[in-house]
Structure formats: C-alpha cells, structure tokens
Amino acid sequence: MANQGPAYYSPYPTATYEGVITPPEGKALLLEEVVEEEKAMREVARVMLTSENATIFPGPQVLYAYNEEASKKATLIKEMAEVLNAKMIPMYDYRPKYPKIDAEVEINPNHPNLTIWHNKIKAAIFIGVHCHYANVALKIVRAETDCYTIAICGLSGHEDAMATLRDQHSSELAKFIKIAREVKSELKL
C-alpha cells in the first residue's frame, strides 16, 4: 500500500483507488512495489522484530481445527509468534459485538483500530482471516492507526496491507519462519 496511516477519518482512498492491486502469482507487495516473495518475507520479519508490540491476529481459518491444513498452520503460527517475539490476539469471529469488544484480548473486523490503539500495536500480521473481512479491517486500520499491517494470505493477497504475501500455505509459512530466524539472528535479537 502506498502510504502508511493515519490517513483520514474515513477509510478512503483505498489502495485500488490509487492504482495498487493484489500482486501477481509468485510475487508479493511491499507498500506499492511488487517484489519477490523472499524479499517481502525478510522485510516483514524485520518490521515485526523491530516494532513495538508486534502482534499476530489469527483468524477463523487457522483458529479452528476444521481440516488438516488449519491444524498444520496453527502449529506454525505458534512457532512464528515465538520467533517474532509477537503477541497473538484472535479474530475468532466477524460479528459486530454487542455492546463492545474487549480490546485487550480480541480483535474484531468492524473496529480493528480499537485493539490496535489499546495495545499500542505498531506492526501486525493478519493470517487466516477471510479475505473480505481482512480487507474491510485493513482499510479501517490504515485510516485510523499508524500500525504497519502485514497480510499473510492463502489466496491472492491484500493490497490494503502495507506488506502482502499471497498463496501462503503451510509450506510457505515454514519458509517464512526460517527466514525470520535468519533475520532475527542478523539483527542480533
């Protein structure tokens, strides 16, 4: 995505209005630049390792054990959080919660900024969130916060995140963890 927030009171302009769309197959997106996947993985790891209160937001597609791939990813995400020294806050469903969310321990796509504000999160990975809700949330986060957002997506990616990796299945997550370990070691963390 072109610019890191805060932008406006309203989630506009969105990335596509600025001519940025999802990266082509085999590539990744860093801000508005289409890059090789490995380059993006290194940058994502660096940002997560060097930002305050870096957090992973696992979504329903990895939180629940409804198929083998989800279970494999769960194990890898737990490992990823350890490597990145990141907290985990779940987006366990998408409902607009009544009367309000507990911003300390949960994130909701309808007001994701509340969790980011409350926990002073400066970098976050969205993973396992259905693409539509990820996009709704990412636009709001970009508009309302200064959090560096990262989408690790099993499908086509998310141009409203500041970094997006696409087609990320368990094998790619394992590759990312390996790279993150290398970056961590380079940064002497």
Binding site: P11, T14, T16, I21, Y94, P96, H111, C131, H132, E159
Partner: protein, 400 residues
C-alpha cells in the same frame, strides 16, 4: 438426474472433461456453427459446469432461460427452477451462490428493474454469480424492443459489467465471466450485457469448441466470505450483519465494505485483460483523427459508419468498450491520443455511455466528446445517422 457425486478429478457430473478457462478459450480447437445469442448462451453454459440456474420469463430473455432449463433436463446443469418474479429469482440466485453454487440467471428491462434491490446485495455479499442481461426498453410506455437504458441503473450496483457486441463475444465472455468473477480477490457478481433481439435473436456464425469439455467447478472455499453451508469457520457467522448496531466506529465498516466491493471490481482488470484481450478493442484506421466510442451492437453500426466514411476519404476508428465496470479509463485515454472528435452512438435516450466517457476523461484528454447519435425504443441505428453526425462537425452546414 445428474449428481454432484458423479464428478471426478477429471470429469464433471455430466461426463465432460474438465479444462481450464485458458484451454477452453484459447487452445481448444473450434468449429463453425450458425446460432442465435440465446442458443450460443446455452452452448456456453453447457461448457461451464454450472451448479444452478433460476429463471423467470420475460421478452426477449425467455428463450435463453428455456434453453438453460433444457441443459438441466439433459444433466449438464445441477439444478434449475422457475422463480416467482425477478425479485424472487435474484434472491434465489443469492441463496444458491452464497451456499456455494456456480449460478447463472438472465433477465431483461422491466425484470432488471423489478429485481434491482438484489444487485447491490449480491455485490455486498460477494457472490460471483452471473447475470446475462438481454437489454430491452423499460416502461412507460411498454416496449419489448431493444434499448439499453436499463444498463444505467446497473452502473453503481457494485457488480462488474461486461458488454458483448455479438453472438461470438457473448459465448466467449459468458465463459470468461465465471472465471473472473470467481477469482478470490474479485469475487463479485458479473453482469454480461447484450442488446436484446439484436444479439439474442439474431443468427450469426460462431466458432465453438467441442462440447465434451467444460470448466473446472467453482471452488466455494476460496470465497472471500465463508460459504453458507456450516462447513467453514467461524461457526457463529451472519452473512451479512447489521453494522450500525455496535458503536460509532461501525459506520467505518459500512464505508470500508462499500469501498472493498468497488476495490474488488478494480482487481478484475488484469484478469479481464487476459481473457478478453483488452478492456477495449480498436478497429478501423488507427491513425485517424476521429473516433467512435461504443459498446454492444452500437459498435457494429459504428464500424459500418467507419467503412462508409473511409469510402469518402475520411479516416476514423471504432473504440469498443468491452468492460463498463471496471471502466477502461487508462486504455481509453491512450486510445484517444491524437483524436480530435469522438462520438458516442447509443441505443438509449439518456446517453449514459457518453456521461461515463466524459466523467472518465475529464482533465485527462483533449478530445472533443460528442454524444450521439442516439436511438431508442427499438429503432435501429443506421450508419447514415452516424455519418450525418460526423459530417455536421467536419463539414458544417453542408451535410454528407
């Protein structure tokens, strides 16, 4: 009846070999046939591994809907029924699609308007269904004749809109439409428009691949929202929730959601470019200083005008827009480089395409855009009318 459980990794439930859209559209050998638009739509649907279709009669769409019904009876389409009216049909289509079925329907004119509330709901809930719109006039007074005024009502529904000029384009577009609409980062409805009667009822030669191949099935679990089938988490999931019942910030959800739907349409550009060979298509003298910006059968008439003008020694080109949503702004600006005057001939009284063109080009092009000629209510658009408009600008007061 066919059963979905008859499908294998290589064959669909009717025994057709499963192929990619690239194979179907670009590689499979084709043979020549002579068909109407309605008949060719049947051939397209036959090759698309379609799960569901819901129909309702209206002129001139009925025949296409009958033929899809025949495909169901023949075992090619999984399920099919007649709904109670177009509002009901589009809601039934929504149900089929959000429960994970590749779904198609068709309508025309007053049917489109009756169903209207459903279309922004379709895009809002991110279903990749296809509507074949066989454009006709809308009331009052009643007309069943060709006229594409109804398209203007569809422009801001959040659906993709493609416009086919002829029978061949209808075949190819309606196949590509499913594939582009179903891309996970697009995944919004697609409206494939043709001019009623001029395409639906006109028999033309058309090149078709064999009917023993069909597209791979829709993959509902790549949907950007969980399909409504109780098989995908979260278990607690409403498609789609009221977002103003939480607190103030949910206004941002509605805004973000709406921009996301429009973003999804934008993401279709590279896919449409690949499958359609560009969002617009140019014919005629490419170094001309005058042009016609068209869609649908107006393109055909403009091409006739272009050929007649060439006989008079006047160079012109026709810029046919294949997609209206997304609108091919960048391509149009480039195509108009060096063009002094461009006309927008249309089959409606309001000139919606002229407005679209002018809005898109504002501040981006020096070309003089001239609305018209326009016909409506079933009138044809003779090349003479187009030539006359051109000559009145090029040769004022002297006519053609």
């Amino acid at each position: 009846m066919s059963k979905i459980t008859d499908m294998t990794a290589t064959k669909n439930w009717s025994g057709q070999t499963l192929v990619t859209a690239d194979h179907m559209l670009f590689e499979a050998p084709r043979t020549k046939h002579f068909m109407t638009g309605s008949e060719v739509l049947k051939e397209a649907v036959k090759r698309c591994t379609v799960d569901a279709s819901v129909s309702y009669p209206i002129t001139p769409q009925s025949e296409a809907a009958h033929l899809i019904g025949e495909l169901w009876a023949e075992g090619y389409v999984g399920m099919y029924f007649r709904g109670e009216n177009e509002f009901g049909v589009m809601a039934e289509v929504a149900g089929c699609a959000m429960a994970g079925s590749r779904t198609i329907t068709t309508t025309s004119g007053p049917g489109t308007l009756r169903a209207m509330e459903n279309f922004p709901q379709w895009s809002g809930t991110r279903i990749p269904c296809q509507l074949i719109l066989m454009a006709r006039g809308i009331n009052s007074p009643l007309t069943i004749q060709p006229d594409n005024l109804e398209v203007t009502f569809m422009l801001e529904t959040g659906c993709m809109i493609w416009y086919a000029e002829n029978v061949q384009e209808l075949f190819d577009m309606s196949i590509a439409a499913f594939i582009v609409a179903e891309k996970p980062d697009v995944h919004v409805p697609i409206v494939t428009v043709v001019d009623g009667f001029f395409v639906s009822h006109t028999r033309e030669s058309v090149m078709l691949p064999e009917d023993d191949i069909a597209l791979f099935p829709y993959e509902p679990y790549k949907s950007p929202l969980p399909p409504i089938d109780s098989e995908t988490p979260p278990g607690r999931f409403l498609r789609d929730p009221f977002v103003m019942k939480s607190n103030y910030i949910s206004y941002a959800t509605h805004a973000s959601w709406q921009w996301e739907v429009r973003s999804a349409v934008e993401r279709s550009r590279p896919y449409a470019e690949h499958f359609l060979g560009g969002l617009l298509h140019e014919t005629g003298d490419l170094d001309a200083e005058i042009a016609f910006i068209t869609c649908g059968t107006a393109s055909h008439q403009a091409k006739e005008g272009q050929r007649e003008l060439a006989k008079l020694g006047i160079k012109s080109k026709v810029i046919k827009l294949r997609t209206i949503r997304p609108f091919p702004t960048k391509e149009l600006v480039k195509s108009l480089e060096g063009i002094k005057h461009a006309w927008v001939p249309e089959f409606n009284v309001v000139g919606w395409l002229e407005k679209e063109v002018k809005t898109a080009l504002y501040g981006k092009s020096d070309t003089n855009i001239i609305g018209g000629p326009r016909v409506a209510g079933g009138m044809s658009l003779p090349a003479e009318a187009i030539i006359q408009e051109v000559m009145e600008v090029l040769n004022p007061g002297k006519g053609a």
